[in-house]
């Protein structure tokens, strides 16, 4: 069978077509938006889910522990203006400088 040199050349490299098709599809695939990129990066993969659960467990534990320890102490009573006046009126004046 006789063919032109071009046809022989193309035929000889025909096995490259599959990879070239894939390459073409990759180049022409639509570019993802920023939101899609973020979604892809933070896709809930196993590792991310485990990390989130661990973080949640730590947060809950910390919250429970804080509540437990804060409940052990009596709350400090807040002073009203009347209490403050009473306290100040009972205070004795500071001693004067005897050298003056």
């Amino acid at each position: 069978m006789k063919k032109k040199l071009r046809e022989w050349m193309l035929e000889g490299n025909g096995d490259a077509l599959t990879r070239l098709d894939a390459l073409r599809a990759r180049v022409l695939s639509p570019r993802p938006s920023a939101a899609e990129v973020l979604r892809a990066v933070f896709r809930p993969a196993g590792a991310w889910v485990a990390l989130a659960l661990a973080w949640l467990a730590l947060a809950i534990t910390a919250h429970v522990v804080n509540r437990g320890t804060s409940g052990a102490h009596a709350p400090v009573p807040s002073l009203t203006d009347a209490d403050l006046t009473l306290l100040l009126s009972n205070e004795s004046p500071a001693p004067l400088d005897h050298h003056s």
């Binding site: 032109k4 071009r6 022989w8 490299n13 490259a16 070239l20 073409r24 990759r26 180049v27 022409l28």
Partner: protein, 184 residues
């Protein structure tokens, strides 16, 4: 290889993905053969085709004449091949010109690139093509694979028309001799 219809190129200018797909599908194998024939490196040839596509997508506005899309694409691939040679420190090969034809006048006979040849002859021809000096090989491959005219090859390769004429003449002479000497 006839140029694609200008409507297809115009659609590509409007970012029509189907048009690009059709254009790239049409040229992917000839471009790969060109890059492979030029570099003799299959992995590099794939990279060069991919780079050619990416650059074509990004720089289509640089194409002045839609009717020359094919030669423009071969020009991008040619530049990719040159870059590959520079990167791989084979830069010197780019300038091994080989003997240039003094006399281009007269009828050199039928174009060996259009001749019908047997599988055995084609194998011998491809071996011969691989041994041609790089500038001759490049011109011949563009002529055979892209069906580019002398002017188009000169533009794609960034070389003077006379130089391309001489390179192609030398390469064709070598092919002609081989075809004449090989059994039919």
């Amino acid at each position: 290889m006839p140029e694609p219809s200008p409507t297809l190129v115009q659609a590509a200018r409007r970012h029509d993905n189907n048009a690009w797909n059709e254009l790239f599908r049409r040229y992917q194998l000839p471009l790969f053969c060109y890059a492979h024939g030029f570099t003799r490196d299959r992995a590099a040839a794939f990279d060069i085709v991919q780079e050619t596509f990416v650059r074509a997508l990004a720089h289509l506005e640089g194409l002045r004449d839609d009717a020359r899309f094919g030669s423009w694409l071969f020009g991008i691939a040619h530049q990719g091949c040159i870059r590959h040679f520079r990167k791989t420190r084979r830069r010197d090969e780019l300038f091994v010109e080989g003997p240039l034809a003094d006399d281009l006048a007269g009828d050199p006979g039928p174009d060996p690139c259009g001749a019908l040849v047997t599988a055995e002859q084609s194998e011998a021809l491809l071996v011969l093509v691989a041994t041609l000096p790089l500038p001759q090989r490049s011109a011949l491959l563009m002529h055979v694979l892209g069906d580019l005219s002398l002017e188009e090859i000169a533009e794609a390769a960034g070389a003077p028309l006379g130089t391309i004429k001489s390179r192609l003449h030398q390469a064709k002479q070598a092919l002609r001799r081989l075809i004449a000497e090989s059994p039919p």
